[in-house]
């Protein structure tokens, strides 16, 4: 009996500890989110007619060429940015993990620097740097008398450039942490039995960092898909990324249910990636601890 009541006590203490954040989570996020989702599939309330289920709002969204192009644009930017992030960060992380030179320390500081720069400041800095008559433009004009510089400002490339910059630190952090989990002797053992560097990378290192790899992949995708500040300040007027589009629909067109529909759609897309993430982090290592 005594052990049982002690068990119940610890159980209760556990729930008591997580109760406040859980209540806040439910009241401020899940409840309104659920309400919004429900509202997007209900017909408008009219006098005398009961509310019914409808998917009209979603049909309307996909019927609208602007909405469609914004959605595709967002997906495209997300995929391209994520791919570029891996291209930039993988070599960087490999270098940081396997180099013993002193320059590695400096590279690490540089790679992590964007972590301490808020997105707004980054956006304005890039405008000053890469914008028309910005630092790069002026430099090319004065030093090389080159006037052909095309600024990425207000173009998709501007968004992608800034988003990549913004997400480098997180990506590098997770990847290097993952790579550090791979022991030297594990790699040396593979070299020892005859594997070349490339083979070691593909058959030993990559499989062993699968988990951190999937985690950065998912979190980057979700973060980039839902980004707002950078596309708002640096992106073109059309097409827009979903974050910007939603904001405009909501405050400029005062179309609350339209914005809600866009939000639910974005949420659904991200939750597919979210599911992959949850599966990755919760997967029992099972046969391989």
């Amino acid at each position: 009996m005594a052990t049982r009541s002690r068990y119940l006590n610890t159980l209760f203490a556990g729930y008591a500890l997580i109760a406040p954040p859980l209540i806040i989570l439910v009241l401020l996020i899940f409840y309104p989110a659920g309400q919004a989702i429900v509202r997007t599939v209900m017909t408008d309330q009219e006098v005398g007619i009961a509310a019914g289920l409808t998917l009209d709002r979603y049909f309307n969204f996909f019927a609208d060429p602007i909405a469609r192009s914004n959605l595709w644009f967002t997906i495209w930017v997300t995929v391209v940015t994520t791919a570029l992030l891996f291209l930039v960060c993988f070599p960087l992380s490999l270098y940081l993990r396997f180099s013993s030179s002193r320059i590695a320390g400096i590279v690490q500081v540089l790679a992590l620097f964007p972590l301490f720069v808020p997105g707004v400041i980054l956006a304005f800095a890039l405008i000053r740097y890469l914008g028309p008559r910005g630092t790069v433009d002026t430099f090319l004009r004065i030093v090389f008398n080159y006037t052909g510089f095309v600024t990425p400002y207000l173009k998709p490339s501007g968004i992608i450039f800034a988003l990549v910059w913004d997400h480098i630190p997180f990506t590098v952090l997770v990847l290097t942490a993952g790579l550090r989990q791979v022991e030297d002797s594990v790699i040396e053992a593979a070299r020892d039995v005859g594997a070349s560097g490339l083979r070691v990378f593909f058959q030993i290192v990559l499989p062993l960092i699968q988990r951190p790899l999937l985690i950065v992949f998912c979190l980057n995708m979700i973060g980039i898909f839902g980004s707002f500040t950078i596309p708002y300040l640096l992106g073109p007027a059309a097409p827009q990324m979903m974050g910007v589009y939603m904001q405009q629909t909501f405050t400029d067109y005062l179309d609350r249910s339209g914005a809600e529909t866009q939000a639910v759609l974005s949420f659904l897309i991200c939750s597919v990636i979210g599911a992959l993430y949850v599966r990755t982090v919760t997967r029992r290592r099972g046969e391989r601890a």
Partner: protein, 353 residues
């Protein structure tokens, strides 16, 4: 047929201004089929030496030769050596079978031959039915056996082992090293085994290379290392030894208040006298003998370990036969039957009485 030679091998870490010499001018020759142990305290450069043979460290100088052919310019994946590491040796994402088959697959052997050889090598280490497990499903000892199987399956010319059993408990360590030795004998493979455990080295090795601070101290058979240590370091490091201060003068060496004979070749100078605990007898007379009070007696089966506090010499450790009646707190008189005289860096003189 495979022999291994380390020739003036040298490794320096650190910067030019602050160099750390991990291995200094190391000369070791390993004969075909020999089991050689590299023994030394932590940080003496054992692993560094072995890793230069395997190709994971680039020597700062000297040469490594297998069958008189330099391998120094070969990357590790091209060298005819196979290494067993201390820990984290298996690839956690591969089953035991795939761990062992990995190197064979790289050599593009046919599938059925790979199957056969993997199975044979698993049986060699007594894990015939473990092929389907993941490393995490094996005990530490089983993992090291798989690591040995993985190294042996490639039929390397030289097997290198860097403290492969030091993470295991004492009993298992003894069992595995004996199994390893048996396998090595049967296969007649040339092996270099690094350890900091002198008992391990003494019981396993054909010859032992004792290292200290990056330098080779002595390379000899275990019995020779024990009986005739060449340097003070080896004398002190291997086995128990009583180290006493002495003064050589005209055919005698004065140790404490007693005079012991010394060879004519000894120069008149201070010397270190090394006496093994078992090279002492208890006597009745005070002639050429010291006396001291017994402070501790422990029974070690067939003999007794006795600590004696001598007013002349300080604390000494003696191994005495059980036939002698001794008790804590008693005074005894004792003298050496055999000792070594060390003077400077020269090999010692042995004196038998």
């Amino acid at each position: 047929m495979p022999t291994l030679d380390l020739i003036n091998l040298r490794k320096q870490f650190g910067s030019v201004t602050n160099p750390v010499v991990a291995v200094n001018d190391l000369n070791i020759n390993v004969a075909d089929g020999e089991f050689l142990c590299i023994l030394g305290p932590s940080g003496c450069g054992k692993s560094t030496a072995l890793r230069m043979v395997a190709g994971f460290e680039e020597p700062s100088g000297g040469d490594v030769q297998i069958d008189q052919q330099s391998i120094i310019n070969m990357p590790p994946n091209k060298r005819p050596t196979a290494m067993v590491f201390q820990k984290y040796t298996l690839w956690p994402h591969m089953k035991v079978y795939d761990n062992i088959a990995f190197g064979l697959k790289l050599r593009h052997l046919p599938k059925n031959q790979i199957d056969q050889e993997v199975q044979a090598s698993l049986e060699l280490v007594g894990l015939g039915r473990y092929g389907d497990r993941y490393p995490a499903q094996l005990s530490g000892g089983e993992q090291q056996r798989v690591a040995i199987a993985r190294a042996l399956v490639l039929k390397p010319k030289i097997l290198l082992l860097d403290e492969p059993f030091s993470n295991l408990d004492a009993l298992l360590r003894v069992r595995l090293r004996e199994e390893l030795r048996q396998i090595q004998r049967n296969l007649k493979i040339t092996a270099v085994f690094v350890t900091h455990d002198q008992e391990e080295a003494l019981s396993l090795a054909d010859r032992i290379a004792v290292m200290s601070k990056g330098e080779l101290q002595q390379l000899d058979k275990p019995a020779t290392i024990y009986a005739r240590p060449k340097t003070l370091f080896v004398a002190d490091f291997i086995g128990a030894m009583n180290m006493l201060d002495g003064e050589v003068n005209g055919g005698v060496v004065k140790v404490g208040n007693q005079r012991l004979p010394s060879p004519a070749e000894c120069v008149a100078a201070p010397a270190k006298i090394a006496i093994r605990p078992e090279d002492v007898i208890v006597t009745q007379t005070g002639e050429g003998a010291w006396h001291g009070r017994i402070t501790q007696v422990s029974d070690l089966g067939h003999y007794r370990k006795v600590f004696v506090q001598s007013p002349d010499l300080g604390m000494l450790k003696l191994y005495l036969p059980k036939s002698i009646e001794i008790n804590d707190g008693e005074m005894i008189t004792f003298k050496p039957t055999r000792f070594l005289i060390f003077q400077g860096p020269l090999p010692p003189f042995e004196v038998k009485l």
